[in-house]
Symmetry: C2
Subunit: 144 residues, 2 copies
DNA sequence: TCAACTTTCACGCTGCGTTAAAGTCG
DNA sequence: CCGACTTTAACGCAGCGTGAAAGTTG
């Protein structure tokens, strides 16, 4: 089912969200106002869906507030713009933008690394408890 | 500064939360009602602080709702109780509880593994973009 | 025309932040 | 008695869920 224009309910199903959430995100400036039909019904493209999925990841995986996500998305949009212009416009002009973008990406990567490490620590502590539990269970089974 | 009894503000500083949040969690049944002074002021122990930190991890790292966290904490409390009784009470009686606890721990471990994998995927995508960006920057520096 | 969607309000719930007013601690 | 902290109570805000009432789509 590969359509490049769809109703809000289709977007909701593809992203695992609700129409209400999509309208709310649009209202808050996280999503651009999509095209409208003659009667005023929202019509979405596949690109729109991609953006929704990106935002959902930032919310669910990182638990960021919508305000913070909005900033990140604006930075990513700006980054994409800069990279396009870097090929058309002059070299020296675009370089500082590229370096700024690199710094932003590094920050994100470090932030993710920290998160991952802490989750792994939590997982290890659970794994230890599980191993200890299994020993207790095994003891019980040896001497009934 | 190792006290085993302290005011709510000290707990707040140690956990990085606010007194309001601690009182709210207590009200919602996440934290047990702590001891009170003569005048009715809450007095916390180091053990209380440990519980707060555990809850904070579940909220920040996993983004779970307070209701879900409450269930998890109750399960962990029950697990601790069962493991204590398993040494006193009969063997056959405690075994099913231990096995149920093991299943719960496995579920948590798998959930964490999934989270970690998705975060690593996100990190990889950022790393790729960063590498690509650095290529562009290097190109600009070679032909000024 | 009819079912199944859509639209814009608008109120409700969670998880606290933030005063306000009064009491406790040292 | 005083300043810093505490108490309960209450309203406010974000991020939606959940209808209600009316229009659009096929």
């Amino acid at each position: 089912v590969e359509k490049n224009t769809m109703y809000i309910d289709e977007v909701a199903k593809r992203t695992g969200l609700t129409p209400r959430t999509l309208r709310f995100w649009e209202e808050k400036g996280l999503l651009p106002s999509p095209a409208r039909s003659e009667g005023g019904v929202r019509m979405y493209s596949d690109a729109d869906v991609g953006r929704v999925i990106r935002i959902r990841e930032l919310r669910d995986l990182l638990g960021l507030s919508l305000d913070v996500i909005k900033e990140i998305m604006q930075i990513e949009d700006e980054l994409a713009q800069v990279r396009l212009k870097a090929q058309q416009v002059g070299r020296e002009e675009s370089q500082p933008y590229l370096k700024r973008s690199a710094v932003i990406l590094e920050t994100q990567i470090n932030f993710l690394g920290d998160r991952i490490a802490r989750l792994q620590a939590l997982q290890s502590s659970y794994a230890e408890q599980l191993a200890s539990l299994r020993n207790s269970i095994a003891d019980l089974e040896r001497k009934p």
